[in-house]
Structure formats: structure tokens, C-alpha cells
Symmetry: C2
Subunit: 208 residues, 2 copies
């Protein structure tokens, strides 16, 4: 029986170490490489061609997880990417799925859940933690309130405290477009100002 090869991408050594220890207990799963950054992750994915990439979203410096997933998808369609992160923010979920993630696990997930997600991923099954699933269901019930990927991306920069001009420069779009997106975001979040949007995003969306 072929073992499932896995690449771990997480900037926290303890998390990589913990995942490795957990996955090491499973005879059919093998961690073939580890990376501490998105850049390293891409290089190692190319080098080892693992069946599954387990990826954190928040990486201290450099390329973040979402960008790394996009790059992976752009280069090679074979690897299934599992997001493995601390927060179940709506925006992150939307962006990760949009980027091409196969599953979305939270770091407090039970070991069996993690194993199942990895085994499912190689078979093309989407697996996600219960809180993540429930968020998605709620979004299905209220489709009007779902942020588009671009809006989510903008929101994630908004909560960094950037101005409209800075947002435009960062996303290579005009300030007018930024304002359009912001207006839509405000409507969906049910707020009127950017300050309230930031506050809401950080609390309700769990962003930070």
C-alpha cells in the first residue's frame, strides 16, 4: 500500500513538530518535508511532489498561505492543499476556498479529524472542521452577506489600517474601485464606517 506523502508548511516549529508526531502514528501517512514559509513551501512542493500540502494561513513574514496556495495551483494541479489554521474567519475561508484549498481544519481539531481530512483530500473529498462547516452553511442561508474573494482580500488589508490610496496601490486598482468595494463590504457587514467595519471584521470575522 502506498503511503500518502505530506508536506507541512507552518512558521511555528512546535506546530510542525506536533503534526509530524501525530501523523507519524499513522502507517499510511508520511511527512516527507517541512517548510517554515510560503516560499520554502513552494520550493519543497516542487521538489517532493507530495500528495497533500498542509498549510497554515498566517505566516510571520513573506508570502502568506493564501498566496502560496494560489501559486501552487498555478504551477501544479495534482497536490491537494489542506488549510490548517487557528481561526475560522469568514473571509479567510472564502479566500482559501477560492484559492483552491481542498479542506479547512482548525488547530484544535481532533487527530482523527486531521487524519480523515488528509485521507479524504487525496481522494478529492473536501473535509472541514465543524465550526468552519457551520459558517459556510450560514453563508449559504444568507448569500447576500457573503463577501466576494476580492472583497475579502480588501477587508484583510483594511484591518491593517491602510487608507484608500494605500489599498489601491497594494491591490493595483484605482481609489474609485477601492471605494466601490468598501461600499459593498459595509453593506454586507451592516456598518457605515470603516472604523466599524474593522471592529466588526476583527470580532465577528475573527480576523486579525
Amino acid at each position: 500500500m502506498n503511503r500518502i506523502t505530506v508536506l507541512l508548511v507552518d512558521d511555528h516549529l512546535v506546530v510542525r513538530s506536533g503534526l509530524k508526531a501525530l501523523l507519524g502514528t499513522q502507517p499510511d501517512i508520511e511527512v516527507v518535508a517541512e517548510a517554515a514559509s510560503g516560499e520554502d513551501g513552494l520550493a519543497l512542493a516542487e521538489q517532493h511532489s507530495p500528495a497533500v500540502v498542509v498549510m497554515d494561513l498566517a505566516m510571520g513574514a513573506g508570502m502568506d498561505g493564501i498566496e502560496a496556495i494560489k501559486q501552487l495551483r498555478r504551477r501544479n494541479a495534482k497536490q491537494a492543499v489542506l488549510v490548517f489554521t487557528t481561526y475560522d474567519s469568514d473571509a479567510d475561508i472564502v479566500r482559501a476556498v477560492d484559492a483552491g484549498a481542498m479542506g479547512y481544519l482548525l488547530k484544535d481539531a481532533a487527530p482523527e479529524e486531521i487524519f480523515a481530512a488528509i485521507r479524504g483530500a487525496v481522494q478529492g473529498k473536501s473535509v472541514m472542521s465543524a465550526p468552519v462547516a457551520s459558517r459556510l452553511f450560514q453563508q449559504l442561508r444568507n448569500p447576500d452577506e457573503v463577501l466576494t474573494p476580492r472583497e475579502a482580500e480588501l477587508l484583510s488589508l483594511l484591518i491593517e489600517g491602510l487608507s484608500n490610496r494605500e489599498l489601491g496601490q497594494r491591490l493595483f486598482i484605482s481609489e474609485a474601485t477601492v471605494k466601490t468595494h468598501l461600499a459593498h463590504i459595509y453593506a454586507k457587514l451592516g456598518v457605515e464606517t470603516r472604523a466599524a467595519a474593522i471592529a466588526t471584521a476583527i470580532r465577528r470575522e475573527g480576523m486579525r
Copy 2:
């Protein structure tokens, strides 16, 4: 030679698992128990009397790490507490030290740093990650950046997303006064806009 007994308290299984794997490589350190919540941590600390408690601050539900540290100190337990967390927020650092923590490590710390912190802790030495130390030094060097009580009060309302007018109404002061306070807050936080102030307050000051 006596081994240093350690209790792990972290709500993430992978982190506990990773720490255990890392610490297991050291002959003089032994993990004697693990807890996934502050409450369990207190109970296990009493039961096992470990030399060192490695504690996460953000625990999903129930008692958080700071409260658990306070409880431990209140029971005048002998254990040295090492904080082991993801964020180096000023407010968390101050609160943890105030609660009686012996050290403050970030989750991206190198293994040697973690080992050294545990060994130091049993000898009464304070050890902290470099970014944490630099934050503390910065606070000591720049007492000017400490918010006055009124400013802190205003900031706590600011991060709710209120406008200047609303802030004035809530605090029974004129909008002009609100603007004065805000200008001072921005200067102390090192930002230029309210959006950045909110973002900074929530991250660096740990407010929410």
C-alpha cells in the same frame, strides 16, 4: 540527576504534541501532564506539582491563561509559569508578568530557546523571546507612550467603531475634545488614522 517536571497547558492538541516531542529529546526534561484548558491546568498542577508550567494565553473557552496564572500564584504554588503564546501584544506581556509569569516565549521560538527557558525557570531566571524583550525595553525607554486613563477610555470606545460625534455623546464631552484626545492617542500609538489606531490597539494592546 533529577529531571525537570513540566505541565503543558494549551488548547491545541498539535501544539501540546509538538512541545512534548521537542521536550522529549531532552534527557533532563519530562512532560508529566497535559491540559487543554485553564481549569484542567490548575487541577493537574495541584495533582502533579510540576516544576514548570508551560501555558498558552488564548484558550478557546473558559478560563484564559492569565487567569490561570493568577490562580496558581494565589494558591502559592511553587511552580514557575512560562507563557507560550503566538502574539507579543504589549497588554498581554504586561498582564502576564503582572500575574506572575516567569518567562514569555513566542510559538516560533527555536527549540534551544524553549529548553533554556525551562531550565532557567526552575532556577528563578526570567527568560523571554527577543521580540518580547525588545517590547518591554521600548516601554521602559518611552514612558511618553503610555495612554492616560481618559485616552484609554476613549480608545476602548474607538475600537467599537464609533464616530467622533458618538464618542463625544458617550463621554459627555465636545467633539473638539474628542479630536484632541484622538490626536494624542495617535501620537502615542505612532499612527495617523483612526483605522490604523483601531488595528494597532487590537493587535498591539490586545484590546477587544
